[in-house]
Structures are given as C-alpha cells and as structure tokens.
Amino acid sequence: MDNELRELYQQVILDHNKSPRNFRVIEHPSHQAEGYNPLCGDRIDVFVNVKDGVIEDISFQGKGCAISKASASLMSSIVKGKPVEEAEKLFAKFKDLITGKLGENPDLEEIGKLAVLAGVKEFPARVKCASLAWHTMINAINEEKNLVTTE
C-alpha cells in the first residue's frame, strides 16, 4: 500500500470503522443534532448528555465512510467526561491538524489519539468526512435547531 494511503487508513482507524465506540442511540438526550455532508450524502446523528457543563455521555448513529465513522468514534471516546469548553478547544486543534495548519512537528500531546487522523491533511477532499461528527456535536450542544451541513 502507498505510504500516504497507509497513513490515512491506519489500523486504529480501520478498527474504529469496524467496531465504532458509542455507536448507539441515547434515549432522551439533553442535546442532539443531525449532520449531513451533501458531497457524499452521509448523515450522522449525534446524541449528547450534558450536565453542569460536562459531557456525561455521547453517542452517534449513521452511515459514513471509514474516516467519518472512525472520527466520530474517536471523538465520542475522547470527549466523554470532558467539560464542553474543553471539547470545543479540542475541535479547534483537531481542525488545524486535519487541514495541515499545525505545521511539520506539531505538539500532539493535547489531542492524544486523535492524532491518528493526521493523514487526512494530505486528502483535502476528505477533511469534511473527518470533521462532520465534530460539527454536529458542537451544533447539538449549542442547540442549533437546523440540520448541520459541512457546506
């Protein structure tokens, strides 16, 4: 397999794609939103339970490519138990990572296992796949009523 391709589809990503974490519905969540990528027709539902400013539980459902599914899975496991504010900061950093704005040798400690998605930066067409779940989560928390799209 080509190196760039191997970098994009790391084993961790393939694992998360095959057995996504928190891939379920939360009944009566405090927040929820639907995300949509008009480019490929992918849809994702993100369910969040926020208590006292902390993400107590988060889950998602939907159909998507390996990148979007793995990203949603990784997101859900990393933000669970974190304050909303921190999740928002993580998203900002994650966006910079996948769009190649962190430079050559970024400090990846803060974003932890999200770093496996760094390969996305070589595939501009796939940035939207990796960010759909995050956009949807942020909108759910901000109680945006409208359907989220990546456009």
Partner: protein, 418 residues
C-alpha cells in the same frame, strides 16, 4: 435506428481501440505513478487531439465575433460556428439548423425550456411529469417553475432493477400533464428508457416530451425525427467535446411559439426603446456573444465520432459492459445497483460495509478514476436506500485490461476492509 450518419467507406474497418487511445493525449498521463485508468466518463469524457487543436486554432487564426462584422475574420468565425450547428443538426437528424440552439449544456437547455415553454404554458393545477431516475438538472428546473406557477410535479417510479415502471407512467399521464421530461439514459443506473414508447403515449394525449440526452448521444444513434421528441438536450463535454457548450434541439413550431429565454444582443432584429422585435430561430434563444470556440470544438468532436461510427462504438461499449459486469459480479460482496435489461456502459455498485468514498480513495492510488457519491441523483439513492455508490462508466477508449485493473484494485480494497 437510422444509420445515415455512418460514413459508408469506414463501415468494414474494425474498431481499433489502441488507435483511438492515441488520439486522446490525456490517456497517457500517470496518476500516483500508475497509468491513468479513467472510468468516470459519465461525469465527463476526454477530448481527442482534433478537438483540442480546433480550440487553439480558432483563437490563433480566426478569433472574432460572429454575426457582426463584415471583415474576413468575422466571416470565417461565423462560418465555422454555423458549420458546427449544421454538424449537430446532421448528427441528431434535425430537420433544420433553426432547431439547433447552442447553450452552456444540458442543464441550461432544460432550464431554457422550463423558463420559456413552462412559463408560457403552465398554469395552476397543471402537472409536469418526470421519472424517479432523473439527474438533479431535470428535477430542479421543473420544481422552480412548478413552485412559481402552483403546478404539480409528478414522478414515475422505478423498480428494483432501476427500470421505469411504464404502466405507472401510463397511469400518471393525464389531461392535466403539460410536459413530460425524461432522461434517455440514467447517469447513475445506466438504464436506457423506452423513450419511443413514452413519446408515443404522451403524443396520443397531446403532451410534448423533452428528452435529457446527456448520457445518450455518445452511446447510441439519436434521430430526433424518428424519436419524434419535442425537445432534446445534451452536453458537449460528455461527447468528447469541450465543457461549457451544449445543445437544445426543439421542433421548429415549438421554438417559434415560445418566448425568448434571455434578452440581449444577437437575439433581436430591431430594438427601439418602445419595442423590440426578436430575431428568427435559432438566434432568438442565443442572446449575447456565444461560446464560439467551444461550439466549433463540439462540431469537431462529432466529426470524430462519426468517423469511427456510433454503431461501432455502441457495440464495443456493450462488449465492455458485459465483460465488466461479469468481472465485478465475481467480487465477493459487490452488489450492482441498476440491472436494467436495456443498459449502457455504466456500472454503479455498493459493498455492504465499505463506503464508496473509501473505495474511491483507494482506487485513485491505483490510477483508477471512478465517481463516488450520489451522482446528482439523490432520489435514486433514496429509492435504493443507500447514501452513495461507486460508479464506473466506460467510453469508447476504455479497454478490458482497464476493467481488470479496476477489479484487481477493488480486491485490494476488500483485503483492507473485508
């Protein structure tokens, strides 16, 4: 089918795909170090050298505005532009050049009809009839005018194989139907619709028919008089010609009765501040300086096709389709979407657990260009309850070896995701 367009002396020469490939410079390009294996021809086709050369030759030797000047270049440009119109006329066997209108493409052609014929003839309570396999470009223009005029847009459903349910069409068409607008060949399923039967039925009720021929003219012989369609739309870039140029064919009496589409230069015969008299056909529908170079390029593309012979192309592409269908069907878990009995060289497919976008990225690294997504036919995706497909669409320059490259590349994807 009419076979007038085939050049008789070429009839017995075998179809030589290697020779054809040499005429298309882009086919020798490399992608990720691999030979380009271009299987996205339903999106756009590549251009033979004669078309590419015609564009630069136009700008280098005769560039000027048409229908205007008395100077030599203007005359040469006008002759070339109008010559191309004649080529198109002969290609689809229209009865007159007046019936051939240059547009930007199929999309603009359909919008033109919706905004002129539609605006003039649609009234509250009327119906427009389309099918469940239309490209967005044959849905949205009608939705726009329907919303404005409080007209109902009706949709003929399709079956599991992606074929039009003709008996449903017969039930849905009625005295309220003011136009039927239907795709000749589906871009996402490859289905060839029984357009002759559709036109006959519609005409028996006095309803005109528009055919979206964007995926048809490059694959089969089109004779608009034999079909008896009222409008026929197609794009240059899907028939080995340039982007930004397309055709609307309309029966003369239809076009004459319709109001102009856009106002401006060239579409008038006399302008005063009180009143403007519109120009005759086809200029009435060609406001402003037209896309001269690309119209000439389209003419060259048609000449190229005619030299090979559309029947030969169709026969070769059928062979490719059969081979590809067989090869892809052997791949475990691959499900073909669109299994119409009458089908052209388009294969859409899905895997249960592998998303088309991942497939597309993997194939790209083997040099294979396919389309992944909803193909501007979201209602079709909804019909089959899938978000997207991977689509391989073949042209006359594709080979069986390329089908093998695709199949082998797909097997590699399965190794990673399976």
């Amino acid at each position: 089918m009419n076979s007038k367009i085939e050049t008789p002396q070429l009839k017995n020469i075998a179809f030589d795909v290697e020779k054809i490939r040499k005429d298309f410079p882009i086919l020798s390009e490399k992608v990720h170090g691999k030979n380009l294996c271009y299987l996205d021809n339903a999106a756009t086709t590549h251009k033979p050298k004669t078309v590419i050369d015609a564009l630069s030759k136009y700008y280098e030797t005769i560039n000027s505005n048409v229908h205007r000047g008395v100077h030599t270049l203007s005359e040469l440009a006008t002759n070339a532009y109008e010559g191309s119109r004649e080529t198109v006329k002969n290609f689809i066997n229209a009865s007159s050049e007046k019936e051939i209108i240059f547009t930007r493409g199929t999309t603009e052609s359909i919008n033109l009809v919706a905004q002129t014929f539609g605006r003039q003839n649609l009234n509250e309570g009327d119906e427009v009839l389309i099918t469940g396999m239309e490209h967005h470009s044959n849905i949205v223009p009608w939705q726009m005018i329907c919303e404005e005029k409080k007209v109902i847009l009706k949709v003929v459903p399709i079956n599991e194989d992606g074929e039009l349910l003709f008996e449903e069409f017969e039930k849905l068409i009625n005295e309220k139907t003011k136009i039927v607008s239907v795709v000749y060949i589906s871009n996402s399923l490859g289905t060839i619709n029984p357009v002759k039967k559709i036109i006959e039925k519609a005409h028996s009720l006095g309803v005109p028919v528009l055919l979206d021929g964007a995926q048809a003219v490059q694959h089969l012989n089109v004779d608009v008089q034999e079909l008896d369609c009222d409008f026929f739309a197609f794009s240059g870039h899907k028939i080995y010609g340039p982007t930004g140029i397309g055709i609307l064919y309309g029966k003369k009496e239809m076009l004459e009765s319709m109001p102009p589409y856009q106002g401006g230069g060239d579409m008038i015969s006399k302008v005063t501040f009180e009143k403007t008299t519109y120009n005759e056909l086809p200029y009435k529908f060609e406001a402003g300086t037209p896309n001269i170079a690309d119209a000439i390029g389209l003419g060259k593309a048609i000449d190229y096709i005619k030299n090979i012979g559309i029947e030969k192309i169709a026969a070769y592409e059928k062979e490719l389709l059969d081979y590809a269908t067989e090869k892809l069907s052997e791949i475990e878990g691959l499900r073909i979407i669109g299994r119409a009995k009458e089908k052209c060289s388009v294969i859409s497919f899905v895997f249960e657990d592998i998303h088309p976008h991942d497939i597309g990225t993997f194939l790209d690294f083997d040099g294979v260009a396919v389309r992944t997504g909803h193909h501007c036919t979201q209602p079709v995706m909804e019909r089959f309850n899938i978000p997207a497909t991977t689509r391989a669409s073949f042209a006359m320059y594709n080979t069986k070896e390329e089908v093998d490259v695709l199949a082998n590349s797909l097997k590699k994807v399965l190794e990673v995701f399976g």
